[in-house]
Structure formats: structure tokens, C-alpha cells
């Protein structure tokens, strides 16, 4: 029994960060991201079986977090804007303020481009680019065929490319 708690806590520590980043990039809201991540883990504590370990447990967590995100989106009447103060807080570079500002501006543009995607495209590109999941793993999480994942990722990349083109040209 004790090892079950230990395993569950290990699952929390291993996945808290990546789950938080996924939810934050999905919604661009710090408070909401923490709420969803914590709710996901509490569901694990309440409902999870002892088989939730390793990759299966990780997948389970992403499925639950993703579903909670979708519920949250449905409750929102308008699209979430990224609050600048949160980005400032997260990326404050006290040693190099200019670099910090440039970085913040770039992050703001990227987050804004991500936020402009429809949620179905946003989730697949985030899972691919940041979690480095295979198309098959993504298909299992979002619950759609492999071909759909492939075409959604391509479409998301194309839309992001158009949004981020000025940044690419500046570089």
C-alpha cells in the first residue's frame, strides 16, 4: 500500500512540469493551468488503479488534463488572451534586461500564435513539438485516427508558419 502512494507521488513529480506546460500553452493562463494540473492528479489519487505507471500513467494524465482543458474552453465565452504579467514573471532575466525583453516579446508572439489555433490543432502540435510524442501516442490521447493526427499537425504547422513569418524573416 505504501509503495502505491510512493509510485503515485513519483508520477506527480515526474509529470507535474510537463503537464503544467502543456496546459499553460493550451490556455495561456497560469491559474487555470495549475488548477487543471492539480485536479488531474487528484483524479489520479481518487480513481487511478495501481496499473497507472510509466508510459500508461503519463498517457492517462494527458488524456484527463486535455479533457479538463476542453471543458474549460467550453465555459469560456471569448478566446483567452495571454496576460503579459505572467510571462514577465516566468521569464524575468535580472542579469540581462534587454535580452529578457526580447525573449518576452518573442514568447508573447509564439504564445499568441499558438492561442490563435483552434483547440483541435493546438493540442496535437503541442503534444508533438513539446512532449515529442509519436503520432500514435497523440492519436491515443486525443482519440482520433492516425491520419487525422497527421493532417492536423501539418495544418497547425502551416498556420503557425504564417503567423511567425515576420519573426523568421527578422532572424
Amino acid at each position: 500500500m505504501k509503495s502505491l502512494t510512493t509510485n503515485a507521488l513519483a508520477l506527480v513529480h515526474e509529470n507535474y512540469g510537463s503537464l503544467y506546460r502543456f496546459v499553460y500553452r493550451m490556455a495561456g493562463n497560469h491559474e487555470m493551468a495549475e488548477d487543471i494540473v492539480q485536479e488531474t492528479f487528484l483524479r489520479l489519487a481518487r480513481e487511478g488503479s495501481k496499473d497507472l505507471s510509466g508510459l500508461y500513467g503519463r498517457r492517462w494524465l494527458f488524456v484527463v488534463a486535455r479533457n479538463l482543458c476542453i471543458s474549460w474552453f467550453r465555459k469560456q465565452t471569448k478566446q483567452t488572451e495571454v496576460p503579459m504579467d505572467e510571462l514577465n514573471e516566468l521569464h524575468a532575466d535580472t542579469d540581462n534586461p534587454i535580452h529578457s525583453l526580447t525573449r518576452q516579446e518573442r514568447d508573447r508572439q509564439v504564445q499568441s500564435a499558438i492561442a490563435s489555433l483552434p483547440p483541435v490543432l493546438r493540442e496535437v502540435i503541442l503534444l508533438r513539438e513539446f512532449e515529442e510524442m509519436s503520432y500514435e501516442e497523440i492519436a491515443n490521447i486525443v482519440g482520433c485516427p492516425l491520419g487525422t493526427v497527421r493532417s492536423r499537425i501539418a495544418k497547425a504547422r502551416d498556420l503557425l508558419k504564417q503567423k511567425l513569418l515576420p519573426m523568421m524573416e527578422a532572424e
Binding site: 503515485a8 506527480v12 487528484l42 489519487a45 516566468l90 503520432y135 499537425i153 501539418a154 495544418k155
Partner: protein, 218 residues
């Protein structure tokens, strides 16, 4: 599998994106690399997609550590669930929920099967008919007072004790047989069944040779 050359821009986009993610089948990958060598448009398209991917990946987010209050709550929830599981294991030591459910459902199905086979049985009397053919089974209702009921119970118990005593004698358990006899004398002397002992030579012999001799020696 033959190389299906993309026909539309969307198909080109998909195949280039999948190539970037190492998700193309081997033959498609070889064919695409062949195309990329000679087609600058597709090559540029791939460069832009790769660049987009790089820009995205550079967007880092510092995730906070799990809040200690949350960890405390998480462990509490976990403990709550485990104690529920423990309670269930205590009540049903060898069973888990799944096994219990399977057992429960199997039990219900068995009951239904037994009931159905009984309903289909040719021996089953039809409603309103006696159990076996023309024979009627008389049902007798006996009414008695509480005192009569108590007397009857006494007789039945005393009869049972006599039978027990006979078995004990048969098995050579003299001590136990003597104890049964003493109980009969003490509590059931009025039941009227003691005449059975007086008429049974074997029991009389046992009483004379063992019980009374032992009583005298004491």
C-alpha cells in the same frame, strides 16, 4: 507499397510535416528525399516548417513545483482511497472489487438458471395441482397451547438425549453417556420418555454397571 506522389498542396504539406517528425514509411521517405534534391520549392517549404518547429521549441515555460499544500491533499486522497480498499479487503479477504462483482453476477445467473430449470422440469406440479399425480398430500394444521408446545419440545429433546446416550454407549464413551443420563434425570424426568430407558435392557445394564457403581464409589 508504391510511392503515392502528393497531388495537392495539402498533401505536400502533410508529407513534409510527417517527414520532419520521422513518421513517414521508409519507401515514402526515400522517394521524398529524392524529390527534395531536385525541387527547390519543396525544399524551401521544408526549411520553413523546420524553422517554425524550432521557433516553437524555443518557447520555454518555467513550470512551478508542486505546491506542498496540494501534495498534502493528494496524499490524503490517496490514503482515503486505500483505506476504502482496505475496508473492503477486510470484509471480503480473498476478494477484490472485480472478483466480487464477477462472483455476484455469477451467483445471480446461477439462481436464474436453477429457477428456469425448475420451471421447465416435468416433475414440477402445475399450479393448483397436487405434487404427484392423483395422490393428494394432506396438510395438517396442529393447534396447541404454549404449555403443550413446551411439553412436546421436552419430549423431543429427551428423546434426542436418549439416542445420544445410546450412541455414546455403543462407542464406549462411558463418561459422556453417564453425563447424558444425569442430564436426562435432572431436567427431563417429567417428560415421560424415561420409560424407554426402563424398557431397554442395554441401557439398564449400563446404568447398573457403570452409573450406579460410580455413584456408590463417590
Amino acid at each position: 507499397m508504391n510511392w503515392n506522389k502528393p497531388k495537392t498542396e495539402q498533401e505536400w504539406l502533410e508529407i513534409l510535416s510527417a517527414y520532419l517528425d520521422h513518421e513517414l514509411p521508409e519507401q515514402d521517405r526515400v522517394e521524398l528525399e529524392h524529390v527534395l534534391k531536385s525541387d527547390p520549392v519543396r525544399r524551401q517549404q521544408l526549411i520553413e516548417l523546420r524553422h517554425t518547429s524550432r521557433l516553437l521549441r524555443e518557447y520555454e515555460i518555467m513550470a512551478p513545483s508542486p505546491d506542498p499544500v496540494f501534495i498534502h491533499r493528494f496524499v490524503e486522497e490517496q490514503d482515503k482511497r486505500q483505506s476504502n480498499t482496505r475496508w473492503f479487503s477486510f470484509r471480503f479477504p480473498a476478494l477484490h472489487w472485480s472478483q466480487f462483482s464477477i462472483g455476484f453476477v455469477t451467483g445471480i445467473l446461477a439462481l436464474i438458471l436453477v429457477q428456469q430449470s425448475w420451471m421447465a422440469s416435468p416433475d414440477r406440479p402445475l399450479s393448483g395441482m397436487p405434487a404427484s399425480g392423483n395422490e393428494s398430500v394432506p396438510v395438517v394444521n396442529i393447534y396447541m397451547t404454549p404449555n403443550q408446545a413446551e411439553d412436546l419440545l421436552q419430549q423431543v429433546t429427551a428423546k434426542g438425549l436418549i439416542n445420544q446416550m445410546k450412541t455414546q454407549i455403543h462407542n464406549g464413551k462411558w463418561e459422556e453417556a453417564a453425563a447424558s443420563y444425569n442430564l436426562l434425570i435432572r431436567d427431563y424426568a417429567d417428560s415421560g420418555v424415561l420409560s424407554e430407558i426402563e424398557n431397554d435392557i442395554r441401557l439398564q445394564t449400563f446404568i447398573k454397571r457403570y452409573v450406579e457403581k460410580r455413584r456408590l464409589s463417590l
